[in-house]
């Protein structure tokens, strides 16, 4: 099967609507198809990967820990909009430490997160074959 570049655009926070968790479900399925997968977090989507999420008081499943599994599925390109972080008073240090093991570098643990400007993200998006927006 041909390999295409798939990008999943996450634009909403974790729990206000169903889009975030159902997007993650698609990403996990997509991993089985051996495509070139990347994720982008823009607008309120940056909240999805903020460290220390706690759903005890709202009766929802805290699926944020699932993001830690992405590295094991060879999904290690997580682009985060610098502008979206700044607009919300966040920085990279507020995000979960999402990592993968680089098989081309003696399985060294590396960060999957790359904070990029919206201009850089625009260039990355224009290289994609398929953009799924959630």
């Amino acid at each position: 099967m041909a390999t295409k570049k798939f990008m999943y655009l996450n634009r909403r926070s974790s729990f206000g609507t169903v889009y975030a968790i159902e997007s993650l479900e698609v990403v996990l399925i997509a991993a089985a198809f051996e495509q070139d997968v990347s994720l982008a977090f823009i607008d309120d989507g940056v909240y999805q990967i903020v460290e220390g999420q706690n759903t005890d008081g709202i009766g929802m499943k805290n699926f944020s820990k699932t993001f830690h599994a992405l590295g094991d599925y060879d999904i290690n390109k997580l682009y985060v909009s610098k502008e979206s972080l700044e607009e919300r008073g966040l920085s990279e240090s507020d995000l979960m430490p999402l990592v993968y093991e680089d098989e081309d570098d003696d399985w060294a643990e590396k960060t999957s997160i790359k904070v990029v400007t919206n201009d850089e993200l625009k260039a990355i998006m224009s290289e994609q074959d398929v953009c799924l927006s959630f």
Binding site: Y19, E22, F33, V130, L132
Partner: protein, 133 residues
Amino acid sequence: MKFAIQVNEGPYQHQASDTAFQFAKAAIENGHEIMRVFFYHDGVNNASSFTLPPQDDRHVVNNWASLNIKDADGEPELVVCVAAALRRGMLDESEANKNSIVGNNLHPAFRISGLGQLIEAGIQSDRLVVFGD
């Protein structure tokens, strides 16, 4: 061109399904192929055979059915995500029986399947067009 379509919003609440339908209809009329329409999130509600709009309104579900989008074997290519459907009470006969639920509401022009069908559509089509917020 070979298109795949993803519909992320339910009928009547949101225009996404109507716009996707108009797009699909126009594409077919202009000689393009719609290889699959994948219904996700609240979009699964576009497949309910229990839908009864007032007579002076459009029938979103029947509109989709009228496009007759099928594969070479005659299987529907209006595909409803199984996980999204079951959690929203959208069941075909098999899922209803499996879960001992009386009644089922999947319109026969649609079929229930997994998210892999969405990824496959992205791989096999020339363009995957997403309709939703």
